[in-house]
Amino acid sequence: MRVRLKTSPRSGAPATERVLDAPVIRIGRGTDQTLVLADLRVALAHAELSPSTSRPSGVRLEAKTRLGVYVNGSPQLSAELSPGDVLDFGRFRLTVGKPTPGEDLSLTLTERYAEHDETAVRKVQLRTRLSQVAWSRRSMAWVLFGLILIGGLIVPAVTHLHAIERTQTVSRDRIPPDKPAADLIWNSGPLSAAHHALTTDCAACHRKPFEAVRDDTCRGCHTALKEHASDHARLAAPPFAGWRCTDCHREHNGPALIPAANRICTDCHRDPQQTAHGTLEAVPDWSRHHPPFRLQLSRRNPTGTGFHWIEARQGTPEALHEDTGLKYPHDVHLDPQGIDAPGGKRVLVCADCHTPTADGTSFQPIAMATHCAACHRLDFDPAAPDRELPHGKPAEVVQVVRDYYARVALAGGAPWPDAPAVVRQVRRPGETLPPAQARAALAWADARAAIALRDVFERRTCFYCHTVTGDGSAEHPWTIAAVAPNRPAYTRTVFPHDQHRTVPCTSCHAVETSQHAQDVVLPDIQRCRDCHGDTGALKETPSTCQSCHDYHAVDWERVDSRTLPPAAQSTARGMP
C-alpha cells in the first residue's frame, strides 16, 4: 500500500513529503520500522497500517503493543481510519488526511511539542489550582448579585408600579387579585387578620413609592370611622396634629392591628393636662391608677316628674343608688326555694328576664308583658279571672273596672250574695229596668268598682311594683310614679357580656342580696382587676385599653349625659 507522509515540525509549518510504499506500514521506535518515531514511550513495534479487509480502499490500524494507539484521544487496539482521525504516539501526532489518487492514505506527522519543552507543556496542562477548575469567584459573584438585584428589587418594583397605575385608590369595592405578584416578596410580615385579604394587593395601600401609607388611603374603606374627638379644632392641635393611622396601627406585624401595649394611650392620658384638656383625668395605667368607674345614674327630678341623670364615681355615696321608680327586690325573685307563681313555687334564674341582645354584648329591655305578666296577673275580680286590666294606662284601668261592674249590675244575675236583689236577679232577654232599679244597680256597681280599684291601686296589682299616689277621689285620682328610662350605666364602654358568659352573673352582680330596685348592682373596678391586668402582665389577662374603650367608635361628648338633649333618650327601662 502507498501512504503519503507529510512531515511538519509543527502543525501548520511547511511540510516535507515522501511516500511510504510497503505491503504493511509499520510504525514504531525500532529502526526496522517503516515509520520510525523516536520517542521512548513508543514501542519498538507499535502499530501497523494495512489495507482494510472490510472496507474497499479503507485503511486499518492495528496496534502491535497492548499499549494501544491513541485514536482521537482514546487508546484503541485497532481502528478503521478515516480522514480527520488523529493518532498520537508519544509526543508525535499523525493526522489522517484525504488520500490523493493512486495512494491509500495521507498522513501528516507533527511533533506536539519539542522534546525539551515537554515537561513545561505538560505542567501547564495540569490543573492544580481551584481557579483553574471552578467558575471564577468574581463571575459567580456578579451573576448572583445581578440575579438577586433583578429578582429582589427590579422585578418587584416594576410589578408594583404597574399595579399602582392599573388600579384606583382603594375602596370597599376593590377586589384583590387572586394571584400574588412579584412584590409579594417585599412583604415584611403577615398582614393583620382584618387586612389579610389584601396580601396579594400591595398597591391597595402602598399608593406612592417612598411614601408611608396615607390616612386618606385608609379612609377609602373606613369611611364611617369617627375621630377621637368631635371637636375639629382640637384634632388639628397637639397632641392629635400630625398623627397618622399608621402611628397606632402597625401593619405587617401579625394578626392584631391594635397596639399591643397600652403605652400608646397612656402616653397622652397619663397627663392629659399637658396634652389635651383639663377635664380628663390622668390614667397612667390600668392596674393601679385607672380611676373608679363613673356610672350614669338616674335621679328623680325635685319637681317629682321625670328624671335626670348624674354621673357618680363608684366609691362615692351617690353611686350606691339610682331612682328607678320601681319596686323590685332581686333577692325575692332569685330565692333558691322559688317564688310564688300561678301553679306553685317557681325558681327563677337571671336569664328568665334578661335576654341577651343580638350582638351578645348587652340585654334587651325588661317588658311587663314578656317578663312579669306570667306571674303578675292584672286581673281584678276573682269571679272573672280572665278579665285583665290594660298595663300602663291608669285612667283606662279606672274606666274598665267601672264599666265592668256597671255592665254586671245592669245585666243582672251577679254571683255576689251581698249584692242587692236587682243586681242578683236574672233578667229576661229584652227586659228594661225601671229607672229607680237601674239607679240602685249602678250605685252598687260604683261602690263595688271603688273597692276593686282601691284594691288594684293601693294594695295589689299596681302597688306590687309601682309607687302609687292619690286616693281615687276626684281631687286625688291615682297616679303611678314615673319609671326611669333605661340608660347604660357605663357611657365610655360597652361591656361585652358575651365574652364573659362562662362566669355566673352573680360573680359580678350582687343581686342575691339586693332588696331594692334602687340598688346599683354593678361590680367595681377591683372586680375587673381580679382577672384583667396591664398589657405585659405576668399573671392577669393582658388587656389593652381597647378591650373596653374604642378609640374611634364613640363620640364621647354626645353620649355624655350632661350634654345629651332630653329628647335623645335611649330605650325605656321598665314597662312600655
Binding site: 459573584a141 448579585f145 416578596i185 415584611s188 402597625r250
Partner: protein, 323 residues
C-alpha cells in the same frame, strides 16, 4: 535635632495569627458591640413588639448595613498593597470578629421576625456568608501549618518536575527490560493523576480502577521478576557437572550471570524510581488538596457576599419604597 516619634503601629510578631491581632482588640470591640445591642434590645419595649421598624430596629439595621459594606470592603483593601490604612492582618482580624458580631446585630435588628421574603432572604444570605467565613477562619488557622509541614522546605513545582523526570527515567529503564515492561511503564506514566477537577483537587484524584490495578500489578510483576533473577544468581554452579563440559558451562554461566546482574540492577532501579514517583504524586495531591480546602470556601463566601449586597440593597430600597 530630630527625635523619633513613637511609632503608633503595633509591632506584631510576623507569625502571630490574625485572630490574636493587637491583643484581641477587635474581638473585644465585637463583644462590646454585641453586649450594647443586647442591652438596648432588652431595654427597648416598642408598642408593636421588637421589629426592624422601631428606632432601635433602624439603628441596628443601619449599623448592620454599614458593617456589611465595610466587611465587603476587605476584598478591595487586601488588593491595595500601597494602602497605609491599617495592615491587612488587622483588617482581617476586624473582618472576622465584626462579621461574627453581625449575627447578633442583624438578629436583634429583625426582632426575630422571619418570613418568606427578601428581608429574610438577605438575613439568610448573611448567615450563610458568615458560616462560610467561619469555616474559612478554621481552615486558615489549621491548614497553613499542615502545608508547611508537608512541603518541608520544598516546592510543589519542583516535585512535579521530578515526577516527569522520574517518568522519563522509568521509561528509559523499562525500554532496556523488554517490551512488556516498557508497555507497562508507559501505560503507568500515562495514568498518573495530578490535580484535576474540583472534586479531584479537594479529595485527591480518583485513579480508574483498571489503572490502579495495573499500577499494583507492575510492582508485583517487577518484584517477582527481580526475585526470579536473584534466585538464578544465587543458584551458583552445578556440582554434578562433568569436567568435560564444565569449562563451556562456566563460560555460559558467567555471561548469563553478568546479564542477570544487570537486569536485577535495572529492575531494582525501576522499582525505586516508581516508588519515589508514586510517593511524590501522593504528596503533590495532598498539597493540592490542602490548598483547595484553604480556598474552596471563598467560592461560596465571595459570591454569597455579592448576593448579600444585592439582597441588602433590595431590602433597604423595598423598606423605604413602602416606608
Amino acid at each position: 535635632m530630630r527625635t523619633a516619634a513613637p511609632s503608633k503601629r503595633i509591632d506584631e510578631p510576623i507569625h502571630s495569627g490574625f485572630l490574636q491581632y493587637a491583643g484581641y482588640r477587635w474581638a473585644k470591640l465585637a463583644i462590646l458591640l454585641c453586649a450594647l445591642s443586647i442591652a438596648a434590645y432588652l431595654w427597648h419595649d416598642p408598642v408593636d413588639g421588637p421589629n426592624g421598624g422601631t428606632w432601635l430596629g433602624y439603628t441596628l439595621g443601619t449599623l448592620g448595613a454599614v458593617l456589611i459594606l465595610w466587611l465587603t470592603w476587605l476584598g478591595v483593601r487586601k488588593r491595595r498593597y500601597h494602602s497605609r490604612l491599617g495592615s491587612v492582618k488587622g483588617w482581617t482580624s476586624a473582618h472576622v470578629y465584626l462579621g461574627l458580631a453581625l449575627v447578633v446585630i442583624a438578629t436583634l435588628h429583625c426582632g426575630f421576625q422571619f418570613g418568606w421574603n427578601i428581608h429574610t432572604a438577605a438575613y439568610a444570605l448573611m448567615m450563610a456568608v458568615i458560616a462560610s467565613g467561619l469555616y474559612g477562619v478554621v481552615v486558615y488557622t489549621r491548614l497553613p501549618s499542615a502545608i508547611t509541614r508537608l512541603r518541608d522546605g520544598s516546592q510543589r513545582e519542583a516535585w512535579i518536575d521530578e515526577v516527569f523526570e522520574l517518568n522519563a527515567q522509568a521509561i528509559r529503564i523499562a525500554d532496556l527490560l523488554g517490551p512488556e515492561v516498557h508497555r507497562k511503564i508507559v501505560r503507568s506514566a500515562e495514568n498518573i493523576r495530578i490535580g484535576g477537577g474540583l472534586r479531584a483537587q479537594l479529595y485527591g484524584p480518583k485513579t480508574p480502577k483498571t489503572a490502579a490495578d495495573a499500577d499494583a500489578g507492575i510492582t508485583e510483576f517487577l518484584t517477582e521478576r527481580l526475585d526470579a533473577v536473584k534466585a538464578r544468581l544465587t543458584k551458583g554452579f552445578d556440582p554434578n557437572a562433568t569436567a568435560q563440559n564444565t569449562v563451556m558451562f562456566m563460560a555460559g554461566q558467567l555471561v548469563a550471570a553478568g546479564k542477570d546482574e544487570k537486569e536485577a540492577q535495572r529492575l531494582q532501579q525501576l522499582l525505586d524510581v516508581l516508588s519515589r514517583r508514586n510517593a511524590l504524586i501522593a504528596r503533590i495531591n495532598r498539597d493540592i488538596a490542602l490548598h483547595a480546602r484553604l480556598q474552596v470556601w471563598l467560592l461560596i463566601h465571595v459570591p454569597l457576599s455579592f448576593g448579600l449586597l444585592a439582597a441588602l440593597v433590595a431590602h433597604i430600597v423595598s423598606v423605604f419604597f413602602y416606608w
